[in-house]
Symmetry: C2
Subunit: 436 residues, 2 copies
Amino acid sequence: MSGKIEPRTLKGFRDTMPVEASARNRMFRTIEGVFESFGYAPIDTPALEYEEVLRGKGGDESDKQMFAFEDQGGRRVAMRFDLTVPLARFVAEHQADLAFPFRRYHIGPVWRGERPQKGRFREFYQCDADLIGAVGPSADAEILTMYAGVFGALEVDGFVIRVNDRRVLNGLLEAAGVPDRAATVLRAVDKLDKVGPEGVRTELAAAGVPDGAVAKALEFAGCAGRDDAETLARMEALVGGSEKGRDGIAGLRTTLALVRSAGVDPARLRVDPAITRGLDYYTGVVFEAALPSATGFGSMGGGGRYDDLASLYTNTKLPGVGCSVGLSRLLEALVEQGRVAAAATGRGVLVTHPEQGDASAAFALASAVRRAGFAVEVYPEPRKHATQMKFADRKGLRFALTVDASGAVHGKDLRASAAFDAPDAARAVDELSRRG
Amino acid sequence: MSGKIEPRTLKGFRDTMPVEASARNRMFRTIEGVFESFGYAPIDTPALEYEEVLRGKGGDESDKQMFAFEDQGGRRVAMRFDLTVPLARFVAEHQADLAFPFRRYHIGPVWRGERPQKGRFREFYQCDADLIGAVGPSADAEILTMYAGVFGALEVDGFVIRVNDRRVLNGLLEAAGVPDRAATVLRAVDKLDKVGPEGVRTELAAAGVPDGAVAKALEFAGCAGRDDAETLARMEALVGGSEKGRDGIAGLRTTLALVRSAGVDPARLRVDPAITRGLDYYTGVVFEAALPSATGFGSMGGGGRYDDLASLYTNTKLPGVGCSVGLSRLLEALVEQGRVAAAATGRGVLVTHPEQGDASAAFALASAVRRAGFAVEVYPEPRKHATQMKFADRKGLRFALTVDASGAVHGKDLRASAAFDAPDAARAVDELSRRG
């Protein structure tokens, strides 16, 4: 390797190999299909933005992790660290050209200079859908129905979407006399799963939240009953006379009824008072997807309602509700459930190249098989038959076909280890379609 | 806007609006479908690479235009300016894990700090497919067949792929006694379309290429006949006894015969001795796609054969052949041919929200229509019927449906301005399917 540049990727970055990239693309297409079936359209925004558009919008952590620099023209620029801040900028900039209520989805890479660790990368994809310019249970129910549709279409076995409404805990904290500590309490309760009630208690005591309010919040977070009716009844009892709290509970009831009217299996949705989502900007419904069967996978994404998306860039108030699919974890879960490898094979065909002479018949056969919906490669050089068959094995192709001088086709089903013959290309295609 | 940050994109960057993003995504899916039908698999590489991996690999111009900076860890990094240099790094890094011949495609954004001008952006998509680790006419023919397949699948009317082989002009220049000026001559001839023969002559005289060689090169570049047979015969006469030149012509003959065996319409492919492609690294077949009907569109992309992809990173010799689809121009051409707007509409449905009361029936109807393959949005708030219909118009939806208290559905075909009624959701779906 003397004089050569070492071929390597940056720390925290990685290449996506063919099998994984194929699986990921199939996942993207499925998700896009669901989003589009609800009238959501894709948008794209630049990887680079003015630094002032991004800085300070995701908190201290995001600022520290931002890839920011000066471009050739002396502008301070930065790579986007999420798709939400660019969406806010996009909607503020193009409001006159958009039809509201505005439904958009966006799947794309984002960049964060985090300390690399297992499962954490400095470049990763986000997948967001938002409905902007609408308030109320119908808008919330639409997002939840679509979110359940995504996991259903991906055939993720046993997913559950846990739903709550921030107004309920906020109302309860108002009633407990500490309305201004809501953000602190919400963030602490968000960690309940990880640190347990004692951990939450310790954190909130350190933050100076009165014991009584902490006890109330923990009682609330743990009040889930056997079913949604019981859970909602207990939430109602705890929230007492708070109007905000009662609004939240009424909102949840209406929203859930609409989601069920849309045909979502009730087992896929559960009211869970412990769900708060960490982010400050949610103001109403919040939800999180999980795979209870696969312990250790944690949240597969979530979302919620916000009062004002783009207040940093415009005076127009833009309330909305959105969801985000946790692609990396979802892909891991699908791999674990054996759904990725299966889809990758089954339609791959090798047409062998003659060891000598003309490849015209091989090219004609390949086209015929391709037209029948198979993925067909002609071995691109005249090599020994055994070499070509080894290549087909290594790639995990399903079939290998050889056309002889008479036009007859000799086939092998590599999965079944079975040979077959066909008198011509058309009948070889028939045979593959029968077996494929 | 006092105290607000101005919502704007960087000079040379732009947002992609929903209609355009939808059209682009459909184009991507079509192209990917063709690539995959030839056994090509996607890969992805990071947006950021070590600067040393990229610097100096695309010439002075690329170096100057590169977005390069120091990251948080003090590393010199840069954003990729094409997908070819990352491919070379990828193949060198992962050679042990790849099955050769290796077929990959890659669609993704690249970044170049060019002076922004009409139709030139600092962020744009490239779309490349390469077959690596194979030499000879079968490999070349595969790429050409697939390339024609891409334009065919996109239904680009009247495209032509112009094909040449660099060995022919190289052989001719050897015979003329100036083998070392081949790169200079090829680059000058590449501009023949733009600057004319006089322009080429002036450029080459200035570069010190002898008049005799320039005359030979121009005679060659202009020798196209009425059909490929005539063109090839003239090329053969001009190239004389040069072995390299004769190899190139023999290669073209075999390659074209194979492409035709694969069923590609002969009118879509033409031998054109004026095609050289500007890039230095091509060594054999070269080609370019054009739309002769749409003057001013220029090349829609092209490709060719190279001897050694990754010599900067590895001692393993990796010959290959590849193609690149000119996405932006192609999208423009498709818009001009009226193929983009048409595909965007036709399946969009609004289900109106009741002005008061419960939206359950609307949600149930929306799900039923969605299952039939339509893109359905329920208006997400209780608004006046007229407001909701205006929204459907603005979005260019095809149908609007309202479900009444009895469960009957009142529909409007917004394209045909025709009303219809159905006694229930199932029969409303039937009606849409009949009209859709």
